[in-house]
């Protein structure tokens, strides 16, 4: 519907903005400028601050980089030298003093002058103890004077119970013995052929690596657990 106001101007009711309209405009203005201010604040203050923080940290990191690299190189060199240190220690420790063992061996064999427990001599001595040996051992192949098998057992016992000789060996296998035909003109004419082996410790390199890795992982886990 169209309304026509025919009153002269002086009689017409003054046209002023209603309170509701004003309120709406005011509210809209508040929110409009408010949001602008928030955006401005975020952009000019918060973002700029974050930017400057990042650039400060970046600069700080850049400044520290040479020292960090130096520390890392030192750390890796330390690791390498620790390995070298460990390796040379292992090399030194891995050595069996065979002159001591064989000297003691001769001494035990020579005990036959002191007691009748045994009287033996050897045909062959085989020692395999290199790092690549998969079954490091000392094999003894010899004879015992007389007919008694007991004497070989006595010798075997003397060897395995001798602290100096037995040190470092893991197992003395039981001797196999065979009585030989008598030899005329020799005192005593009989002899018993025997042989037995003595085992040295062996560690499979693969198993050793695995064990070392497992140990390392365990140490890392426990360190992480204690820091938490």
């Amino acid at each position: 519907m169209i309304q026509i106001n025919l009153l002269p101007d002086e009689f017409r009711r003054s046209q002023r903005t209603s309170a509701a309209t004003l309120s709406v405009i005011l509210i809209a203005t508040f929110f409009g400028f408010g949001s602008l201010s928030v955006t401005g604040y975020l952009y000019l203050n918060v973002r700029a601050e974050a930017h400057s923080r990042v650039s400060i940290l970046k600069e700080q990191l850049d400044n520290m980089t040479p020292q960090v690299r130096y520390a890392e190189s030192l750390d890796s060199e330390k690791g390498e030298f620790e390995k070298r240190n460990k390796t040379i220690q292992e090399i030194a420790k891995s050595r069996t003093l065979w002159s001591e063992k064989l000297d003691r061996f001769a001494e035990i064999v020579n005990r036959d002058v002191m007691s009748p427990r045994h009287q033996v001599w050897f045909d062959g001595i085989d020692i395999e103890c290199g790092l690549e040996a998969k079954d490091p051992h000392m094999d003894l192949d010899g004879f015992s004077a007389g007919e008694e098998f007991k004497l070989v057992s006595n010798f075997h016992e003397d060897l395995s119970r001798d602290a100096v000789f037995a040190k470092g060996f893991t197992e003395f296998t039981a001797p196999t013995q065979t009585l030989q035909d008598p030899e005329e003109g020799i005192d005593p004419p009989h002899k018993v052929a025997f042989d037995f082996g003595i085992k040295l410790p062996y560690e499979d390199p693969k198993k050793k690596k695995k064990a070392e890795a497992a140990k390392k992982a365990e140490a890392t886990e426990s360190a992480a657990g204690s820091s938490n």
Binding site: T39, K78, N85, I91, S99, I125, I127
Partner: protein, 476 residues
């Protein structure tokens, strides 16, 4: 209720405001997002900074650790031969072998080198050696190599017994066994990488400052060595110890003499056992006086035994190899052990020497009197080996008398070898006109027979000569 009337301008204003609001919200969202990203980046960088700081904080410690490790590895690898030293090692192998009396038949270095374990800094080098030697020569050779200044170990040792047959060979025959050994050493190749090592500022100064810690850490590496004692009379473990049965039974040798030797060993064992008992009592003695008495008693018994053993050694009285071995491996070390046990401040080395010197002097006098000049010489040689020069005037006099007896004895031995053929004598008692026909020439008392020998006196049953300044009787 008032109706909300909006003017066209109002509407336009509201629309613009709405647009501003929406635009701002969108912009705010993106700015907030960016801020969040920056925050995350900053947190990450802060962590990096913390890590970096921690690393930097460790620099001093790391430098110290690296210096200690570097210096110690440098020291440790001295036990390993360098590439340049391999010629020297070859030479040493040959020298060791020839000094022991071994002739190497094959010395073969393995061409390929293996990298050692966890690091590439060490390379394993192997040599294969073949030679023939007795058991104890082999033992000495292995010992020399193990005690060599550079690390050497054995990867394999194979000894095959040499040919020995008790029926064919003499008991003292020493067969040569064939030996095949593989020895291993390592070369340090990490030294070549020293140019790639981290440059530590003020290295020398820091190293000097850390000298103590470097030395402390170095104790860890210990290369075990074994000192092989001089070989006694042990039998070769690779030789058949059984003996050939001699005709008429037995296993050779003069049974009577061997019994006497065995009796001596048994007696020595008894005395050793007595001394052991005395030593036990001495340790449990209730008083110092009692302890002294027991010590003197034990010491006297030992000294007597030692004197006997000295004579046995000097006269080489033990001939049976088995008894001799027992004598040298069981009796002598036991006596030495007991002497050590009984030897103390109260019975010091000087007292021991006094007793030994006096006993030996008595034996030498007796032997000289009975013209057993060889025994005199042997006794002197034995005592000279075990007793130092004395300072006590009494002992000095004893030692000079022993020296004189020794000189006289050796002169007498030489005199016995001079050809003296007496074919006639004219003796005038109490007159200087006596003559003797020696080696076909007539000599009077006081005349020279050679430059070193003079005829001093002519008796009815003897001639007295002065030979090299010593008066010696020639019994007719």
């Amino acid at each position: 209720m008032a109706k909300l009337e909006l003017h066209k301008n109002h509407k336009l204003f509201l629309a613009i405001t709405g647009l501003v609001l929406v635009g701002s919200a969108v912009a705010s969202y993106f700015v907030w997002k960016e801020c969040q990203q920056l925050e995350e980046e900053a947190i990450g960088m802060e962590e990096q900074v913390q890590v970096a700081k921690a690393k930097i904080m460790r620099i001093d410690d790391l430098e110290e650790q690296v210096i200690i490790l570097r210096e110690n590895v440098k020291e440790y690898v001295r036990i390993l031969p360098s590439d340049a030293e391999f010629t020297e090692l070859f030479k040493q192998l040959s020298d060791f072998a020839s000094s022991i009396g071994i002739r190497l038949s094959n010395l073969n270095p393995k061409q390929e080198r293996r990298q050692a374990r966890s690091t590439k800094a060490f390379e394993q080098v192997s040599y294969s050696l073949k030679f023939e030697a007795t058991y104890f020569q082999t033992l000495q050779f292995i010992n020399r190599l193990e005690n060599y200044e550079r690390f050497v170990s054995f990867a394999s040792i194979k000894v095959r017994a040499g040919n020995y047959d008790p029926l064919e060979h003499a008991p003292d025959f020493q067969p040569l066994h064939s030996c095949d050994v593989q020895l291993v050493t390592y070369v340090y190749v990490g030294g070549a990488e020293s140019s790639r090592e981290v440059q530590i500022a003020g290295y020398d100064r820091k190293r000097a400052f850390l000298a103590e810690q470097i030395a402390e850490a170095r104790h860890d590496l210990h290369l075990e060595k074994f000192q092989l004692l001089a070989e006694g009379v042990r039998r070769d473990p690779m030789v058949d110890p059984r003996r050939r049965v001699e005709e008429g039974g037995g296993s050779g040798g003069d049974e009577g003499a061997i019994d006497a030797q065995r009796a001596l060993i048994a007696e020595a064992r008894d005395i050793v056992a007595q001394c052991d008992a005395l030593f036990g009592m001495m340790k449990d003695a209730a008083s110092v006086m009692r302890e002294m008495e027991l010590r003197v008693e034990g010491w006297n018994a030992l000294t007597e035994l030692q004197a006997k053993l000295d004579v046995v050694m000097a006269k080489n009285e033990i001939s049976d190899p088995k008894v001799k071995r027992e004598f040298e491996t069981a009796i002598l070390p036991e006596v030495a052990r007991l002497r050590k046990q009984f030897g103390s401040e109260d019975m010091g080395g000087e007292d021991r020497d006094r007793i030994r010197i006096k006993k030996t002097l008595e034996q030498m006098r007796e032997a000289f009197r009975t013209h057993d000049y060889e025994a005199v010489a042997r006794a002197y040689e034995v005592i000279s080996m075990v007793v130092n020069n004395a300072t006590d005037p009494e002992l000095v006099a004893c030692q000079s008398e022993m020296e004189q007896l020794y000189l006289n004895a050796t002169t007498a031995v030489a005199f016995e070898q001079v050809k003296i053929d007496v074919s006639g004598l004219v003796v005038y008692p109490d007159s200087a006109d006596s003559v003797a026909i020696i080696n076909g020439v007539v000599y009077r008392e006081g005349e020279a027979i050679t430059d070193e020998m003079f005829l001093v006196d002519i008796g009815e049953d003897h001639l007295l000569f002065e030979f090299r300044g010593v008066l010696l009787t020639y019994d007719l």
